[in-house]
């Protein structure tokens, strides 16, 4: 199965994400009690990230957690981002705007 490497800059870790999986699945496999492991359905915002580089697809998420303007700036929810290449991200978490 195709795998992508997602590097989380501010945590100094890299996680493997299978083709078709979202980033949070990779994070949870690495550490299931990671703070980012919330509703896993795009609603709660605890998995908020900033995308530094890489290709990906997204699914609908709560705009209260990440607005369209924030998405323009690279913010996203890890449980709704599906890598299409290796990626580099930062973990932001709930309500932590940078």
């Amino acid at each position: 199965m195709k795998k992508y490497i997602v590097k989380i800059l501010n945590e100094n870790i890299s996680v493997n994400v299978n083709e078709g999986d979202h980033i949070l699945k990779g994070i949870a496999r690495y550490n299931s009690s990671h703070k980012a492991n919330g509703c896993r359905n795009g609603g709660c915002g605890v998995c908020k990230i900033r995308i530094v580089s890489g290709e990906f697809e997204v699914k609908k998420w709560s705009k209260e957690q990440v607005s369209d303007e924030e998405f323009e700036k690279g913010y996203a929810l890890a449980c709704r981002v599906f890598p299409k290449s290796d990626m580099v991200i930062e973990y932001i978490g709930k309500n932590n705007k940078k």
Binding site: S33, K35, N37, G38, C39, R40, N41, G42, G43, C44, V46, K60, W61, S62, K63, E64, Q65, K94
Partner: protein
Amino acid sequence: MALKGILRSGLIQLRVLDLEESVDFYHDRIGLTKVGKLGNDRFMLKGYDEFDHHSVVLREADSPGIDFMCFKALDEETVKDVIAKNEKFGYERYEVTDQPGFGTIQMFKIANGHTIGVYSEVELAEQKPMTCNPKIWDKEPHGMEANLFDHALLAGPNQGECVNWFVEVMGMAITEVLYTEDKNGYICTWLSSNTRGHDVALLNFPDAGKLHHFSFQLSGWNDIGRAADIMARYNIKIDAGPMRHGVTRGQTIYFFDPSGNRVETYAGGYEYFPDAPLREWSADRAGEGIFYYTKELNERFLTVLT
């Protein structure tokens, strides 16, 4: 008439990200009955064991969460009484008339950012429990076999004031409390209008109008186990459980709907009577109150809300 005033929680409107996907989830998996579309962006459902027209409305929106939760009053006198008693609190009131099958719903914007409704008139549903030489069901239930919409845990600020509103205006009883560390306030309060352990619970939380979870009643522990099997089969995201709450003694699973709203399947729990003494929990035993077996709150309990 055995029970007077406010009878029960009876209607909830929930926001979802994708209406079609959510209707399938609540119908196929949780086992609700489809009642029908409401405009372009809403859908009505009900539990198979409920008499009323519908009890759950899903509304497609940009962000998940709760629009409002409503309570069934015995009669119009009760509704008038609630309106009068609300004067002291001065909470904004408005009328909603667009729920099919329902009479006017009086909505109150209470101080934790939630909207609470009261109504006395609702038509019987097409699909409802049998009443003449009744079988336990007319058509066998499916999915997790949710009987009915049971309760919700609403999060927001000004919790003490809102508790007073539910007690003084709605005439509901506090069944259990979880005190803050200094015992001067409550972290969470459980309130009942009937013999259930709770119809609504209020969680103190900085952000207004947040939904912690809402809950469907299942028949018993075996049904909770079967619900877990369905969650495993369809990769439904479980939050915690199967387990028991210390508070209310309910047997339960917390899980997430496709928009990240926390849902609960709930069974058992004690019967409450108005003369029962208050059950009290100290802050250091909060873990046991919520997660009775593991005795530890998970990280998600106080961070994951919609």
